[in-house]
Amino acid sequence: MSIEHDSEDEQLDAGVDTRESSVFSRLPVGEERLISILSPIVFVLLWEATVQIGLLPEAWFPAPSSIFVTLVELLRDGTLIENTTITLRRLLGAFLLAAIPGIVLGLIMGLNATFRAIMDPLVSMLYPIPKIALLPLIIIIFGFGDRSIIVTASITSFFIILLNTMAGVLEIDDVLLEAADNFHAKGFQKFYKVVLPGAMPLIFTGLRLGLGLALIVTIAAEFIASESGLGYFILNSWQILRVENMFAGFIVIGVVGSLLTIGVEKLGDYLMPWRETDTIR
């Protein structure tokens, strides 16, 4: 055992990765960007070509060009806008209904060992149930329509927000809490200036995952419990055998999902400018 340890000089250049070998291969940045732009374009072109020469059956996989025409048409006549608005309204309702109690109860579970001990078994019992399975029961209670969809989606989203918020509090580094105590942070000040910012990164992870799940469940619930919204629109396209409409619906859901995720991430970056930006999220 050495009493003086002087062997940490190699950390001087820690910011620069100078390692040559690795289990995964690396590309120069420019090359990587070029490939990632080209790959979807090539994919769409290949798709178009295989449909045009008759390799892919058009009845199941319409050509990208005809999907695009349908998409523009459906946007112009308002069908897609209307259904998207309805779905977004339900999604927002479900998300708020999940996020507010999820964060509040998650914080309490993180801070209070008794409350955590009470809630833990309940949460671990309910969390693994795929909440969409509850939809029939929820329809019995809330009826056909908005309320059942919102409730089902919000229950799904609630648990992931709750658990991430609790973990956010529990995983605050002990030394930060010691520092807070040592510098006489007390009560609400300690909560607001140490616990809350400390838990924020994981709270946001919960919100991002919760929003994604809520979108999935909203769409799925709309298949069954509604005659409006993007889920219904897609199901209805199947019933009337308009496959291009179905694909137009997929595209809108994809765009909505990505925009919402990016939105939550941007909000996180805005609220937490102190986060290291190169972390994997």
Partner: protein, 271 residues
């Protein structure tokens, strides 16, 4: 070699018979036993000992982060409004969500010091550690050495009766550590603070301290207290002095037994 300071000044802190027992499920572990010492005002007092000897436990008791099982200590405060102690923690103890400036202001902010005053105080200490111009950066944008400068500023800015330092330079590379040792000495000299300094480095302890308390391995208690008679100001060149090296080998002879004992103990525990 006494447990009280030689100079006749009033002690800043006096600890009597401190003990700490951690109650485990199968056995109790005595981390500290009969530990007494006294540090006079403005003194730089270091505590060295083998790893696991309870140095950090002792610091956490003095910092009032944990309670002692037995014994007591007293900090003589000159000024009632002043905090009793502030800790410079080992590493990763800066609030990542606060800028350098806001981290240094933290203690003052919690005590309700007005904004302008705490901003000036923080600026003052950041200048002293050479971090002017870095006020608005976040901790993750700083090197380890810069982070510890902020950590040190945060404690000094809080203007406590006693500063407690828990191996503040232990995680730094050798060159950075040398630079920060001199800086810390310079600030201590300007501020005339009482410092209790935990370290595992004998060199560091000799370079910085007025007196060094050497701890035994578990249960930790003070084995001996050594006066460091090397004149100040001390710099990194001080390491080359003959009396520096004499004291180093004297301390090491004593510490080595404890290191051996601590290793024996671990070997026994792991079997």
């Amino acid at each position: 070699m006494s447990t009280t300071p030689s100079s006749g000044t009033e002690p800043a802190i006096t600890a009597t018979d401190l003990g700490k027992v951690y109650r485990g499920e199968h056995q109790n572990v005595t981390a500290l036993k009969n530990l007494s010492f006294s540090v006079s005002r403005g003194e730089f007092f270091s505590i060295v000992g083998p790893s696991g000897c309870g140095k950090s436990t002792l610091l956490r008791i003095i910092a009032r982060l944990i309670d002692a099982t037995t014994g007591d200590f007293q900090v003589n405060s000159q000024d009632q409004g002043r905090p009793e102690n502030s800790v410079v923690f080992q590493e990763h103890a800066l609030f990542p969500w606060r800028t350098v400036q806001d981290n240094v202001e933290f203690g003052l902010e919690m005590r309700g010091v007005p904004k302008q005053e705490r901003s000036d105080t923080a600026q003052d200490y950041l200048r002293k550690v050479g971090l002017e111009g870095f006020e608005n950066l976040y901790p993750h944008q700083l090197s380890g050495g810069m982070q510890q400068r902020v950590n040190i500023s945060r404690a000094f800015a809080n203007d406590p009766e006693v500063l407690l330092m828990d191996e503040p330079l232990g995680a730094l590379d050798a060159q950075t550590r040398f630079v920060l040792q001199e800086e810390l000495l310079r600030i201590w000299n300007e501020e005339n603070k009482t410092i209790i300094y935990i370290t595992h480095s004998l060199e560091e302890a000799i370079l910085m301290s007025d007196r060094i308390g050497l701890m035994t391995s578990q249960p930790g208690t003070l084995k001996d207290v050594y006066e460091v008679d090397i004149p100040r100001p001390r710099t990194n060149k001080t390491r080359n002095r003959a009396d520096f090296n004499e004291l180093h080998s004297e301390l090491w002879d004593s510490l080595e037994e404890e290191v051996q004992a601590s290793m024996e103990l671990r070997r026994a525990e792991s079997q």
